[in-house]
């Protein structure tokens, strides 16, 4: 059982770095009194650099319950899990946990590339809280689950990323705590292995263990969880059945304007390399951004971002999900991925503002609700910004594809026009 009572966590969103240098600290001792004199009443400004990552969050989770936590990036989901796993203490409120707790905030915690698979199973297992004897007992089972028997004595630095993830998850999947905290770890690995992991998670839940599960993957929340919590700006916005909460969430994400703009550079998502400026949904024939688009026309996803480091190789990318969060597609402007050649693809960006447009063809998506997430990466696969569920839009059926068939199109996620050909093979039965 977990009881969370008025939990709050205050973070310092300091200037450049969260840590200081001793040199600064020493000079501060001497200069601080003068600064105070100079700034006088300005000291109130300082309180602005603090942010409540969580505020006044209270809930209870019963023994054996599987609960999903959803919400946009930066709404306190990870902070909540970090507090529950005792990685960081809360600023206020308290938590009471009955039962042994284990957390899985990352795949491969404690893995060392130089060590063999066998060594890493023990190392990672102990770090995650297992006893040596326990790991020994389950060792064969773990290796079989990961399907890497042949390579168990090879250093993991020679593993493919798939093998690495499988082994890492296999260790984690054999943890047997009474309460398990999981953060987004299922979003890695190939599809078949993901299914296996989901199955294992389902088993864990059936065994009567308590699971707290953070994910962007709405279908898995619906499948696995009995209850869902929605966090918004550090507060508990809604709790209830997964279906209700997800519906509510997607409704609130839906911005009627079809755009999201960050007017202030230093408050925009990103880092000192790249920051977002705006993301918009556009369509020909409609003035300005829109959240309602015509099924038969191209949908334009426009993202503007600042490059802040001269000579960086940036690439923009979009992530499209349907109304329950199923991941439909992702696309970037890399030469081999883009349909048209983007003249800035693979080029070093000078400092300044860039605008990239991705075109989703008309007569491709089905009618219904979709949501867009964006990624800005650097070099080949170095993600700098990743925001899921940033904007959502409704695709409306305008009858373009409805001249003959008038029934329901509900069900499929996409509705592309495909090529058809029928040949008359004659009427002779022989």
């Amino acid at each position: 059982m977990i009881r969370v009572e008025k939990l709050g966590k205050l973070y310092h969103i300091g200037e450049k770095t969260p840590y200081k240098t001793l040199r600064e600290a020493i000079t501060n001792i001497f200069t601080a009194p003068f600064k105070k004199l100079k700034n006088g009443l300005k000291s109130k400004e300082q309180s602005l650099s603090y942010i409540w990552a969580l505020k006044n969050v209270s809930f209870q989770i019963k023994k054996g319950e599987v609960v999903g936590i959803i919400g946009r990036n930066g709404t306190g989901k990870s902070t909540l899990l970090k507090i529950l796993s005792r990685i960081t203490p809360p600023t206020e409120g308290y938590v009471e946990v009955h039962g042994r707790i284990a957390s899985l905030l990352e795949v491969g915690t404690g893995f060392h590339p130089e060590l063999t698979g066998r060594d890493n199973v023990f190392l990672s297992g102990v770090i995650l809280g297992m006893k040596k004897a326990e790991i020994k007992e389950k060792f064969d089972e773990i290796v079989a689950f990961a399907e890497i028997e042949r390579f168990i004595d090879t250093p993991v630095k020679y593993y493919s990323s798939g093998m690495y993830v499988r082994l890492a998850f296999a260790v984690a999947a054999h943890l047997e705590p009474e309460i398990l905290l999981v953060d987004e770890v299922l979003s890695v690995g190939d599809v078949a292995f993901q299914k296996k992991c989901l199955g294992k998670m389902g088993d864990v839940a059936k065994e009567g263990r308590t699971v707290l599960f953070v994910s962007h993957n709405m279908p898995s929340i619906i499948n696995l969880c009995q209850r869902a919590l929605l966090l918004k700006a550090g507060r508990l916005e809604k709790e209830g059945s997964p279906k209700d909460v997800i519906q509510y969430y997607l409704d609130t994400v839906r911005s009627a304007s079809g755009q999201i703009v960050w007017p202030e550079l230093d408050k925009a998502p990103g880092n000192d390399i790249v920051r977002l400026q705006a993301v918009r949904i556009l369509q020909e024939g409609i003035d300005g951004p829109t959240a309602d688009v015509d099924i038969s026309k191209e949908i334009l996803i426009e993202m503007s971002y600042w490059n802040l480091r001269e000579g960086t190789f940036l690439y923009p990318c979009i992530r499209l999900r349907d109304g329950v969060g199923t991941f439909i597609l992702t696309s970037s402007n890399h030469k081999s991925i883009s349909l048209t050649e983007d003249s800035w693809s693979g080029r070093a960006y000078p400092n300044g503002l860039f605008k990239s447009i991705c075109r989703i063809p008309g007569n491709f998506l089905n009618e219904g609700l979709y949501s867009i997430g964006v990624v800005v990466g650097k070099d080949v696969l170095n993600t700098q910004i990743l925001l899921e569920y940033l904007l959502s839009f409704n695709v409306h059926d305008t009858g373009e594809m409805r001249k003959e068939y008038l029934g329901s199109w509900a069900g499929p996620v996409i509705r592309p026009r495909l090529a058809w050909e029928t040949v008359f093979l004659g009427n002779n039965e022989q």
């Binding site: 770095t17 840590y19 200081k20 005792r86 938590v95 060392h112 130089e114 102990v126 995650l128 809280g129």
Partner: protein, 274 residues
């Protein structure tokens, strides 16, 4: 389910007790972290063991040449190579321990932000792993003793006592520095200087008896003085460190306890800062 543990998570304010019971509960983790460090160290460099032998040996050769042969530093009637090597042994344990433990928390940021365990395990494991190097270096020392016709005496049985003292000294310093290092990132740049300074403030290349009597008490505030003179006493039969030891041990204990409390006080921000 009578034995279901109940965990209470509350804001942490001010000084925190040192939970020895919890540390004991995580002893397997300590063991595996030490094991990992040793395994990686001896795997990554083919030179691994060779380096552990070569480093103190070359130091000894250089010291013997300059301080022993050219400068003729007083050595209490012992062959200078033995005299300096007996001090290099605990010195390496100390300097390696301090250097590694200072960086221990920052280097394991990936663990600290992802999983809970008593953070004290980080500096603790990094002072223990240099012991393997000590083992190799010590074998060389035994060889040297026989080479110089100076067989070890029964006092060698006291070695673990002084070795432990060297480790505790390294831990005491490491606890302070590792915690400070998380908050102030320029601390690590001062470590090489600190170690070098400390080296000359310790009787590695000279004997503490060379110092004037009036300086002795002040000098022994450096706990490594007691450790090194202790090593020379049990290995080479020089004068026992005597009353200096009491000062050294007292200082070490004060540093250790205050260091542990300081570490515990700052550890709550580790995950947010590293």
């Amino acid at each position: 389910m009578a034995d279901t543990p109940i965990l209470k998570i509350k804001p942490i304010k001010g000084w925190v007790a040192i939970d020895l019971k919890e540390l004991w509960h995580h002893r397997e983790l300590l063991y595996f972290l030490v094991w990992r460090d040793i395994k990686v160290r001896y795997k990554q460099t083919i030179l691994g063991a060779t380096w552990a032998i070569l480093q103190p040996f070359l130091m000894m050769v250089v010291f013997s040449l300059f301080f022993g042969k050219f400068m003729k530093v007083p050595r209490e009637g012992i062959a200078y190579p033995l005299f300096s090597y007996a001090a290099i042994l605990p010195w390496m344990v100390f300097s390696e321990g301090v250097t590694r433990s200072t960086n221990s928390v920052i280097q394991s940021s990936n663990l600290i932000t992802k999983v809970y365990f008593p953070r004290l395990i980080m500096p603790l494991s990094s002072i223990i792993s240099p012991l393997i190097d000590f083992g190799f270096a010590f074998l060389v020392f035994i060889g040297l003793m026989f080479y110089y016709g100076f067989p070890p005496s029964i006092k060698i049985l006291l070695l673990p006592v002084f070795l432990l003292l060297a480790l505790i000294t390294a831990l005491a310093v490491g606890l302070w520095l590792s915690a400070i290092n998380v908050q102030y990132r320029d601390v690590r740049y001062t470590i090489p200087f600190l170690i070098q300074f400390w080296f000359f403030a310790s009787p590695v290349v000279y004997s503490s008896t060379s110092l004037p009597k009036s300086w002795q008490l002040f000098y022994s505030l450096n706990p490594m003085v007691g450790v090194i003179e202790g090593f020379r006493w049990i290995l080479l039969g020089t004068a026992p460190p005597g009353s200096l030891m009491i000062v050294s041990i007292t200082i070490v204990l004060i540093m250790l306890i205050s260091g542990a409390f300081y570490f515990r006080r700052t550890e709550k921000i580790f995950a947010d800062v590293v």
